[in-house]
Symmetry: C2
Subunit: 428 residues, 2 copies
């Protein structure tokens, strides 16, 4: 295909007329698809239904150390669940793990909230500081940015590269500005690009020399075991161990959950950190809760047994969602290849494909898709303050729709990209 930029005005107008007709056709079909969130599809949830069978009225409800999961106690999680979640996070020792209820987002919010009201290991509570800043690699996860915004924390956008955040910038900010207290990271199959941080990036993280004593890396390992392929998989270095080696054991808060392993509506979540940070979190938990659901922790361990059980389960997830990723990517390649009106990632795992349209086109593309019945994540959502400076990035979440719906949605998407790009070129 000829790049749109090289087309004459007349060629573009003719093409636009044809595409407008196609768009009206699609609109007439009355599509109604919500692709705004990375949601598992019912078939994926069905994979986990065995979880409902592992415990019954006659089950032994004791943990491996003889604690009754039905009663109070073991506020920081049952030992076997700590081990399982530590293994899921790439081999974090069980004693460095606290297991929570559903939703790792709650742990992230809590961790930031605690720093705001009580500081970090004795530092000044952030609510008493004039300025607190977080580095936000972008495009990134909108709910991370929502937490920092909620607490009035200033967000500094850090560009993403194919090997992770721009580490030159990260190092500069972290080492020079004591107001920089944290950085949000999704280190493996990042949301939305599906980028996994290179070993060099992880080592540079571990080697950071922060100006602020209470600077922490907020390491959201949300897609630790979420590979799409058997033969091609990203792996990342385990940051807690790297930080310890580098002499900065307390610099990381790591988060993970089974939201996209077992059930998004009934999973377990985990926090991993150094002994000192875990101790601080537990001191706060003593006041905050009588403990999370230990029966569900037991249910997860009895069902998955160990990390190999989780890996086998994730292969079944991949078999369901891989074809959807491939369907979208095939449409993007076929319809947009060579047109030079967009670029997209081809991730090996995670839940998203990231699409970069021509500058100034993202919002219009998302609006046009919506006009024909397909709801995408709001343009800009992947950037701090919901504002993409280039108005270019769009997050595509292919997991929830069926394969047929996904094909229809992808067809509409490329059509909207073409139309909006032509309008942009004609307006120049």
């Amino acid at each position: 295909m000829k790049p749109y930029r090289e087309m004459s005005r007349d060629e573009l107008l003719a093409l636009k007329a044809e595409l407008d007709r196609q768009f009206e056709d699609v609109k007439g079909k009355g599509l109604k698809l919500d692709m705004s969130r990375g949601k598992p599809t019912p078939a994926q949830l069905d994979l986990g239904m065995g979880l409902m069978d592992v415990l019954n009225a006659d089950s032994d409800m004791m943990t491996e150390n003889g604690t009754d999961t039905r009663n109070y106690g073991l506020m920081d999680g049952i030992p076997e669940a700590k081990r399982l979640m530590g293994d899921m996070m790439g081999g974090v020792p069980a004693e460095n793990v606290i297991v929570y209820g559903n939703s790792s987002l709650t742990i992230m919010y809590d961790t930031v909230s605690r720093a705001v009201t009580h500081g970090v290991l004795g530092s000044t509570p952030w609510c008493r500081l004039d300025q607190v800043k977080f580095l936000c690699p972008a495009p990134g996860y909108d709910r991370h940015f929502a937490i920092t915004k909620h607490f009035g924390i200033e967000m500094i956008t850090i560009p993403m590269t194919p090997t992770g955040p721009d580490m030159d910038l990260v190092e500069k900010y972290v080492s020079e500005d004591p107001a920089v207290k944290g950085i949000w990271c999704v280190p493996k199959y990042s949301n939305p690009q599906g980028i996994s941080y290179s070993d060099e990036t992880v080592r540079r993280f571990a080697a950071l020399e922060p100006a602020a004593e209470d600077f922490r890396i907020y390491w959201d390992n949300a897609y630790a075991v979420h590979h799409l392929y058997d033969d091609r998989q990203d792996e990342i270095l385990e940051l807690l161990g790297e930080c310890e080696k580098a002499g900065h054991p307390d610099m990381v808060y790591e988060f993970a959950s089974t939201s996209k392993v077992s059930f998004s509506g009934a999973g377990i979540a985990a926090f991993a950190s150094s002994a000192a940070n875990i101790e601080e979190a537990k001191r706060s938990m003593t006041i905050q809760t009588i403990g999370h659901d230990k029966v569900n922790q037991l249910r997860h361990v009895r069902y998955f047994k160990d990390i190999d059980g989780i890996r086998a389960h994730m292969r079944r997830h991949a078999a369901i969602i891989r074809p959807k990723f491939e369907a979208v990517l095939a449409v993007l390649d076929r319809e947009l290849g060579g047109l030079e009106i967009g670029e997209w990632t081809k991730p090996l795992g995670g839940y998203f494909i990231s699409f970069d349209a021509m500058e100034g086109c993202a919002k219009a593309i998302v609006a046009k898709c919506k006009e024909a019945g397909v709801v995408l994540t709001g343009a800009g959502a992947t950037f701090p303050y919901g504002s993409d400076p280039l108005d270019s990035n769009i997050r595509i979440a292919p997991t929830y729709p069926t394969a047929d719906e996904m094909a229809a949605a992808a067809d509409l998407f490329v059509l909207c990209v073409k139309l909006v790009s032509i309008e942009k070129l004609l307006a120049q």
Copy 2:
């Protein structure tokens, strides 16, 4: 029996010698009992094992409105669980309820934490105020006081009366001091006294005219359905409705859980309030979580079905714990009746018996029990800052030990009360 105060010094010395011998005997038995917390006993937890059978691999996992409990969504709880928890709280409409995961303490902590960082319905965040105060009816629940202490909130002790907190004092503080932002209440079968607030007390709460716009009543309805008897039961007025009638719809935050209905380690908890307060809580939840465990909510509703199912279940709990309460009370009556060295409550529900020793004796009694192997809740724990001004109150938690253990523990307890009282009288 002759009151100890009327005994001569010689009589007391003779009695002490005999009781000292008895104490050494008990010590020799090597008791090892922890009665420090209100914990269900295994037989009570066994009552709930049917919960493990209601969902299995073939179950329909949809809510009554067709939402998949296994996926994201319905962040504020499934409709049928809202209804059930609303009914448990005495008939709060489902739309005024949010259902959470295990532990209502987490909701209380969150509610205070949110007020500290973000204020209440637009009020100044408490972290920006010089002074924030809470009224603390005492004796009360130590974990309530731990939350307010954690956030540096000044606690003002309000004496308890047989009909609830001293309302003259409550009205005075709340109407005169804008720094007073809350009051902790356990309105039914209070912890530790088992007192239920009279209708007049509840109506005076609803009629409060706070000096602070962000004053809230923190209404921990922890023992709403926890009756010990079929024929004698306390009921309290439903405060949300009373507040609405009195023109103060936003003045209450109510909390409840199934910690002592289903499982302390895997229950569900709920928050109830006015439309405006619920809306505010939900706005914050959107940032804080992707939602609580909805499958466990579904499990609870499918198992208990409705409030009548819960009531029937609670009668089975009562059958297990009532004899333990009665065993303790029988020993107290038999051994301490007429001695005038202590007073105790005879609650119709809840989890505790409250004992008031002679002034200055509680710490010594708890220490002496511990010396012989029985751990009670620390003396003072039932007061703000862990400090009972009279050093008199002791919380007895009879539910966890077996009936035999309970009898042995009660025998030891009265022995320690006698000994410490005599020592006190001899020292005068």
